[in-house]
Amino acid sequence: MSNEEMVARLSVSVGERDHVSGGSSAAVTLVEYGDYECSHCGEAYPIVKAIQSEMGDKLRFVFRNFPLAQAHIHAQDAAESAEIAGEEGKFWEMHDMLFEHQNALTEDDLIRYATEVGADPETFSEELRGHTRKERVREDFLSGVKSGVNGTPTFFINGVRFDSSWDKETLTAALNSAG
């Protein structure tokens, strides 16, 4: 059922503002729009991790926020918390921590995780309560909407939305053939 008009593409290319993991000159870029409180994203998390370790420098992985905040009450704060930790260079540590503790994302939990990953607890709490990264998260969200993100997780491979199943075999095969 391939229909050229239906191919959704990233409306905002990967750039300076993104959190990027993996080789900067990688042939393949995988972008995920995700929600830390979404159980499907939680299932995708170890799959992406495994693929990253298998593909090494051949893969560049980017995570953008797509919190369904009205449905998942902790999703917005969780997204902001990773961004705040990111200001101290701890984005990926916090990202991993959140997905590994999806069912415990209260404010106290977030502050505890931030401390564990090495962010300054006082600054972190202040920024979390002041919602200093709220706009940043919304920008991610809207870039997703404009790119045809219709649920979480949504993946893009080299800028094109990946509509197949994201089980490890299928996703790996798609990434390898894109490189």
Partner: protein, 163 residues
């Protein structure tokens, strides 16, 4: 894939309707004239959250409002079902019950499915004069997202009316 051929197209007048919205209210389309309306027909309440069209639109209401557009969800579910779904999913826009006679409005827009008694997953963007400016029917299992709606609303502003 069977295709609905009678879907109302851009340029056609949007058929007026009055449907129950919530347990005690009704909404009449023609009373919303003066601003754009987004009609989102969908098969049924209670889809799983993470990929759900209605839940997604609920997160984007402020973008629709930036275009002064009103979003109306329409399905053949009854008002009590809608009310429970609205509460459960914390929805902040009305879901209309196209329930009695069943699917009447969906039929008028050409998006009723006789084979299963549901409406298509169909979107209409209606301008401030009550004329359809964009329509789209998505495969039943595919959440069409919101990018098409946002582009259509933008086009209303830029390419639209010269009056």
């Amino acid at each position: 894939m069977s295709e609905t051929t009678s879907v109302l197209k851009p340029g056609e007048k949007a058929p007026d309707f009055t449907l129950q919205s919530g347990l005690d209210d009704t909404i009449t389309l023609s009373e919303l004239k003066g601003n754009p309306v987004i009609l989102a027909f969908y098969p049924a309440d209670w889809s799983p959250v993470c990929g759900d069209q209605i839940v997604l639109y609920n997160e984007i209401l402020s973008e629709f409002k930036a275009h002064n557009a009103t979003l109306l969800g329409v399905s053949v579910d009854g008002a009590w079902c809608h009310a429970a779904y609205v509460t459960n999913s914390n929805l902040n826009f009305p879901l209309l019950a196209d329930f009695e006679p069943k699917g009447k409005v969906a039929r008028e827009y050409g998006v009723y499915r006789d084979q299963d008694g549901l409406s298509e997953r169909a979107l209409f963007v209606i301008d401030s004069e009550g004329v359809i400016r964009w329509s789209f029917v998505s495969p039943m299992g595919t959440n069409p997202g919101a990018d098409g709606i946002l582009s259509a609303l933008k086009a209303l502003k830029t390419g639209g009316e010269t009056k």
